[in-house]
């Protein structure tokens, strides 16, 4: 795998932690990205079946991942009608290759499932309608800079690379049909949080107490915030006086 040439270097006028939430939030897409789904309806016929089940996983130390069905085409390896017959045979070849190497269960998981992977504290590897690597840094409490790239297999065909990048740009990045609306939403959230005298808490309890929280619960956000809290506000060292003496 390699990073494709071309770096998306952008920013959002919001606290950096909001992008962690946004990158691994399994329920904002339908409303925040309504215009993207309008377009997707015309290029795919599996929207209804694809947006089905999935689960969130706490990977420990603040890392987390969610895995769920893909309503969109995936360069590895879910075909949509919008990609035509050439795409069908190329995606079929990629899928058969997975089948040979990994067997049906794992091949289906690789080909048909999205994974939004969060590596604490500020790295995201999202395997969605394309594969993106994203990292972000706060320059101020209400301003972050973001670097994002496309990740791709070294040996893919020219067709597959072209369609991968095409699929990437339809949704992802500051010129795509989704990311600008994410930025807008986070900037509005930031404005809301500035009134924190009125609302001291942001509730992320969704799915608490479930044996197996689903991808649109908030387990993954709790994994992040719990680790952040642990590192920012460690338990007081009780023998500090003795150490100082």
């Amino acid at each position: 795998m390699s990073i494709v040439a071309g770096s998306q270097e952008y920013s959002i006028r919001a606290n950096w932690k909001l992008l962690t939430e946004n990158s691994i939030d399994g329920y904002h897409a339908a409303t925040t990205h309504a215009t993207y789904f309008d377009i997707l309806m015309s290029s795919t016929d599996n929207l209804a079946s694809g947006m089905g089940g999935g689960f969130g996983y706490d990977l420990g130390n603040g890392h987390a991942v969610l895995e769920y069905g893909a309503p969109w085409g995936r360069p590895v390896a879910q075909w949509i009608p919008g990609w035509g017959e050439a795409g069908k045979s190329e995606i079929g070849r990629l899928y058969n290759n997975l089948l040979e190497r990994h067997g049906k269960e794992r091949a289906d998981r690789i080909a048909l499932k999205n994974r939004n992977l969060f590596i604490f504290p500020n790295l995201v590897v999202n395997d969605i309608m394309a594969l993106t690597v994203r990292t972000y840094f706060p320059l101020a409490p209400d301003y972050m800079i973001i670097n994002a790239w496309a990740l791709a297999p070294n040996d893919e065909t020219a067709w597959a690379r072209k369609y991968r990048l095409n699929n990437f740009l339809e949704f992802l990045g500051p010129g795509g049909f989704a990311t600008p609306d994410d930025a807008e939403a986070l900037e509005h959230c930031q404005r809301g949080f500035e009134n924190s005298k009125e609302a001291l808490w942001n509730d992320i309890s969704k799915g608490m107490g479930k044996d197996k929280p689903s991808h649109n619960d908030e387990l993954q956000m709790r994994a992040f915030w719990t680790q952040w809290n642990r590192q920012m506000f460690p338990a007081p060292i009780s023998s500090i006086k003795g150490v100082a003496a």
């Binding site: 494709v4 040439a5 071309g6 770096s7 998306q8 270097e9 952008y10 920013s11 959002i12 006028r13 925040t32 309504a34 215009t35 309008d38 377009i39 301003y143 800079i145 973001i146 790239w149 496309a150 020219a158 690379r161 072209k162 990048l165 095409n166 990437f168 740009l169 339809e170 990045g173 500051p174 010129g175 049909f177 990311t179 600008p180 609306d181 930025a183 807008e184 939403a185 900037e187």
Partner: protein, 161 residues
Amino acid sequence: MHAINRSDVEDFLFNEADLLDQWRLPEWLTLFTENAKYEVPCTDLPADASSETNLFYIADDRVRLGERVKRLMKRTAHAEFPHSKTSRMVGNVRIRSRNDDEMEVSCVFQTLRTKDGTTDLYFGTSNYRLTTNTESFRIREKRCLLASEGLRPHGRISIVL
């Protein structure tokens, strides 16, 4: 058509900028040919990079450009609803080359965008391929080369450049 000179091209580009500032996007879309491209490369790529092998900010064919216009006219395009206010300045217009049915044109642009109390500046060079065998010019290709370092602090290209 009389021999095309620079002021003809300027009239066309000024009109394009005006349509965009007025958010008359469906009308703006008619300036493009059926096989047109609209591209904004990432700023760490060479000016002639291909969008088939490099990650851009925007690489629209005519179909996606149509989707972009449809999207931006919707209330659910949150980044641009209500619409931002924009002011586009187009200058340094030059005819770079011409052949039988097409000319290459370049200009610089400075686009100011205001929304929610924040004003951002987008600036750089636009390279056009314009048809000249049609009743009026049509855009075959528009490539906007941002002169900024990345997209900071504005962070997004939610408008058309």
